[in-house]
């Protein structure tokens, strides 16, 4: 579904991604972990071209998205993204946050989008917040609404950029539960996170990044029980 070929990204002289060749198949739940500065967020942000790679190619569903002629706006509709800082639109109600893109892009009528929004809100138990503004919500509620805002576009893949890192500890669970539900329903997911329990529970594959490369990857069992790379061993010993 997503293929990266020799993906490189530098900011000036600083090399952040140093040649990543990776394939993410439909239905996979790929969790990316690594120390800060290892390039994992940049890797994720390259996948929907929020960061433009310096070199290499990214293919999404048979389209080369790094080709200048590709209309990235069309492809982004199929790639939902969830941010660390939620990035809800503070001047719009929850309902408007969810329905804005589908309606303005002409994918749904206002009524259809509204039904979809209410259905998604029902699913996360926040129907009564439909007409609230983001500032009236807790962090966990904001992030769950950011997730369903992305889902309202019916994406083929969901990208999560440290979705729980900005949350109070007691709110992490509700967000991870929703993500686990999505995973169980077969959504293709790429998740950058520090939540190792989530990786063990949900991932079909775990990648470890260090200094702009993927240095080890495996099934979660093997990855956590039998790490081979010394940097990974050191990393796991610090956080587990």
């Amino acid at each position: 579904m997503i293929v990266t070929k020799n993906l490189k990204k530098s900011f000036g002289d600083h090399v952040v991604l140093n040649g990543i060749n990776e394939t993410i198949h439909k239905g996979e739940k790929v969790v990316v972990i690594g120390p800060s500065g290892s390039g994992k967020s940049t890797f994720l942000r390259c996948l929907n071209l929020l960061e433009v790679p310096t070199e290499g190619e990214i293919w999404f569903e048979e389209h080369n998205i790094t080709d200048k002629k590709t209309d990235i706006n069309i492809l982004r509709r199929k790639m939902g993204m969830v941010f660390q800082q939620f990035n809800l639109f503070p001047h719009l109600t929850v309902r408007e946050n969810i329905t804005l893109a589908p309606v303005k892009l002409g994918l749904m009528t206002k009524a259809e989008a509204n039904d979809k929004a209410m259905e998604l809100l029902k699913r996360i138990g926040l129907v009564e917040k439909a007409d609230a503004y983001p500032n009236q919500l807790s962090g966990g509620q904001k992030q769950r609404i950011a997730i369903i805002r992305a889902l309202a576009m019916n994406p083929d893949v969901m990208l999560f950029d440290e979705p729980t890192s900005a949350l109070d500890p007691e709110m992490v669970g509700e967000v991870l539960d929703l993500m686990a539900q999505l995973a169980d329903e077969g959504m293709t997911m790429v998740v950058v996170t520090h939540e190792m329990r989530f990786a063990k529970r949900v991932a079909t594959r775990v990648l470890f990044m260090d200094e702009g490369r993927i240095v080890e990857q495996n099934t979660p069992e093997e990855f956590f029980e039998n790490p081979k790379n010394p940097r990974l061993q050191e990393f796991l010993s610090k956080i587990l």
């Binding site: 982004r76 790639m79 941010f83 990035n87 303005k104």
Partner: protein, 232 residues
């Protein structure tokens, strides 16, 4: 109490004979019309220039930044009255010029330079995550700018914008130099007829004050309406 009578007589002379109140009303109409057109034009130019400038930085188009900066620097670096005279003499060659429209266009072009810098500051005050969130949903750059960034930016800069419009209304009082009979010109005209300049000027001043207070009121209502997302 002779001076009270004198005062009454002065103001009576400044308003009633020869239907002089009509002159104020016509002047007021011209001032309001110029202000309104200039504000609208100023907003239009301001938004366009601000968005162009921000876009030029994002997409590294140096020439566009230069063009915008030349406009802003020239307008802010020269006196409004000189600009007014230059533009008037540039267009007056066609004889049947509408001075009112020339004035409004000139004040609008002038205001646009200030408004654009205010709006640019507003756009830059919005977290870049907002643009990224809009783009990640498939909205294009301009859609995100229009539906997500600008509404939030305008909310943040409303007090500064209000200041600019208040200044603009008062600055229209120099429109007289291009033969527009605005409120100030009307007052001077009446003063020259009654040989008593102070009463008409005080009346004109009161009119400006009422206009500005009205605008302030309007802006504070607008501000309250826009801050609905801020409730906690």
């Amino acid at each position: 109490m002779n001076w009270v009578e004198n005062l009454y007589q002065s103001f009576y002379n400044a308003i009633v004979p020869d239907q002089r109140y009509m002159a104020y009303l016509d002047g007021l109409k011209a001032t309001l019309l110029i202000s309104l057109l200039a504000i609208l034009l100023g907003i239009a130019i301001g938004v366009i220039v601000a968005v162009l400038k921000v876009t030029a930085v994002n997409y590294r188009m140096k020439w566009l930044t230069t063009v915008c900066n030349v406009y802003i620097n020239v307008i802010r670096g020269t006196p409004l009255m000189v600009q007014l005279l230059i533009i008037y003499n540039l267009i007056f060659t066609s004889r049947d010029t509408n001075e009112l429209v020339v004035g409004a266009v000139c004040f609008g072009i002038n205001s646009g330079a200030y408004v654009s810098e205010i709006i640019r500051a507003g756009i830059e005050s919005i977290d870049r995550g907002q643009m990224e969130a809009g783009r990640s949903l498939g909205l294009d750059y301009m859609q995100t700018m229009r539906m997500i960034i600008l509404p939030q930016a305008v909310k943040n800069i409303l007090p500064a914008l209000g200041n600019e419009f208040i200044t603009l209304i008062k600055e229209t009082s120099v429109a007289g130099v291009i033969a527009v009979t605005d409120l100030t010109k009307a007052a001077q005209y009446i003063g020259s007829r009654t040989w008593d300049i102070l009463p008409p000027l005080l009346i004109a001043a009161a009119c400006y004050l009422v206009m500005v207070m009205g605008l302030s009121k309007l802006l504070s209502v607008f501000e309250r309406r826009m801050s609905k997302g801020d409730r906690h």
